[in-house]
């Protein structure tokens, strides 16, 4: 059902965990739906210096979370915001159609984290 790449990320997820004092945190989904993920970012010179995730959910949810941390790491915030759900799925060699909607939330979580970072920065400068 899953591509080899999805299974590889599921077996060895990258960047699992939390970042204490993260510069931005984004949470999407909820346990009622069966998928929920939180992405933590550390930003330096407008780039994502470190990124970690925590995920409750199915194989696709874990693999997409892991994948997005790889895609986003080192990117400028502007470029990271351009990463779409489709980019994540494509990088994983595709996802089963039924999983495209429900479990492919990682891009949303990343965008949330970046928005959170911007909000925090704004609050600081005020």
């Amino acid at each position: 059902m899953y591509s080899e790449k999805v299974m590889e990320h599921f077996r060895n997820p990258r960047n699992v965990g939390e970042i204490p004092n993260a510069d931005g945190v984004g949470t999407v989904g909820n346990p009622v739906c069966g998928d929920m993920m939180t992405i933590y970012i550390k930003v330096k010179d407008n780039r994502i210096k470190d990124i970690k995730f925590k995920t409750f959910g199915c194989g696709a949810a874990v693999a997409t979370s892991s994948m997005i941390t790889e895609l986003a790491k080192g990117k400028t915030l502007e470029d990271a915001l351009k990463i779409t759900r489709k980019d994540v799925a494509d990088s994983l060699g595709g996802l089963p159609p039924i999983k495209m909607h429900c479990s492919n939330l990682a891009a949303d979580a990343l965008h949330e984290a970046i928005n959170d970072y911007h909000k925090k920065q704004e609050a600081k400068t005020k």
Binding site: Y2, M7, F10, R11, P13, V16, T27, P31, V32, C33, G34, D35, M36, M37, T38, K54, T55, F56, G57, C58, G59, A61, V62, I98, C102, S103
Partner: protein
């Protein structure tokens, strides 16, 4: 790698003795049982022998009360639609439970579209049907009540005898889906007062593609397929003879071996459940602790999701099943788990192991030794896991 199959409710191997009994009906006894010539005689004998054996398994009064179908889903569809259609002049009310198989649920929903009223009885936290609710719902309009013998997803065995007494006090028919109980529990349609009963072949190591419906003599049922008059004119079409012979052989073996095998499985089941609940914190049993199918180990673990557990188990060679939405085509958690009162997130964390003949005590020990690490790993990854648990399972 060790391979452990614990998904017997989804599919079972065919017993080699069953396969051996079937083979001649593919290559030697290929005559049509309805023909007159000598080629058909063995075929006809095979058909009626199988009918007799299936009748014996559930203690039907006459072998003619057994009708062969293509699967348990067909049997459930036929019984419910067939009884409803034939008796609708007496009333348009049907009662069933909220934990039936989809092949009962969806037929009942279809009946609602056709103008029937259907009541779905609640169950308690263990999945036992609410008999008081049944008494309240039963009226003179009720023509049929459908209650499963046991639930394959949570293992709970229903009080069929009590249900039957209540149903018959109002002169309604009682249909029972015995699919999940096949090969594990002794069923006596006469003693238990059952009017129609769905039987499955593959659930007792018979072939897929065949099932049966017991219909007590005198029960008013519409024919399912019109044609050449096979199955007493109720389900026409040339019989799936190798399949039927296989189901007959499976019934014979089940009758002879079930008692010992059920005892063995019950022992394995209890060891399995005890091991998991002891070794893993925030773990719970789904379904009834004692009124339980011998092969059924249904558990749930907080803070994690079922499909992730299944994938991890599969990587370790273990085949199991889950009530999580993430493994279903509908993306909804199992209606059975919701009916016993589990929240969505609790249902998502469910696992179902169904044991069978080839499972040994070593298999159980193997899975019990694997699962704590899988749960620990997924909990470490989950944002729902409470802090104090992150280090320990």
């Amino acid at each position: 790698m060790r391979k452990v199959y614990m998904d017997h409710t989804a599919g079972m191997p065919v017993d080699p003795r069953v396969l051996e009994a079937m083979t001649p009906y593919f290559e030697k006894f290929y005559g049509n049982p309805s023909s007159l010539h000598s080629f058909s005689q063995e075929a006809r004998k095979g058909l009626e022998n199988a009918r007799e054996k299936v009748a014996n398994l559930v203690n039907a009064e006459k072998r003619e009360e057994i009708l062969f179908t293509s699967c348990a889903t067909e049997s459930n569809n036929w019984a419910i639609r067939g009884i409803a259609a034939r008796n609708e002049k007496l009333g348009k009310h049907v009662i069933t439970t909220s934990i039936e198989h989809m092949s009962v649920m969806n037929v009942c929903k279809h009946l609602m579209k056709k103008g029937f009223k259907v009541s779905f009885l609640p169950v308690d936290e263990y999945g036992v049907v609410d008999l008081e609710a049944l008494k309240k719902e039963l009226t003179d309009e009720t023509i049929l009540v459908s209650v499963m013998y046991a639930n394959g997803e949570i293992g709970t065995i229903e009080p069929i005898k009590e249900v039957s007494e209540i149903v018959h006090s109002k002169n309604a028919y009682l249909h029972v889906d015995a699919t999940a109980a096949m090969g594990q529990l002794e069923i006596d349609v006469q003693k238990e007062g059952i009017d129609s009963l769905t039987l499955s072949s593959n659930d007792m190591y018979g072939p897929k593609g065949v099932g049966a419906l017991y219909v007590k003599r005198g029960t008013r049922l519409e024919p399912l397929i019109f044609g050449g008059g096979q199955e007493y004119g109720l389900r026409s079409g040339t019989e799936n003879l190798p399949g039927i012979v296989g189901m007959g052989k499976a019934a014979e073996l089940t009758k002879a071996e079930m008692e010992m095998e059920s005892k063995r499985l019950s022992r394995l089941r209890d060891k399995f459940i005890k091991g998991l609940l002891e070794k893993i914190s925030y773990s719970f049993l789904n379904g009834h602790p004692t009124r339980r199918l011998p092969n059924n180990v249904a558990v749930r673990f907080s803070f994690i999701e079922g499909e992730s557990m299944l994938l991890n188990l599969n990587m370790a060679g273990v085949a199991a099943s889950s009530g999580s939405a993430c493994t279903a085509k509908t993306l909804e958690p199992s209606h059975v788990l919701r009916a016993i009162g589990l929240k969505h997130e609790e249902a998502h964390g469910s696992l179902l192991f169904t044991l069978g003949k080839q499972n040994s005590e070593e298999d159980v020990d193997y899975v019990v030794s694997l699962l704590p690490d899988i749960v620990k790993r997924l909990r470490a990854m989950s944002p729902l896991t409470p802090k104090e648990l992150r280090e320990n399972v």
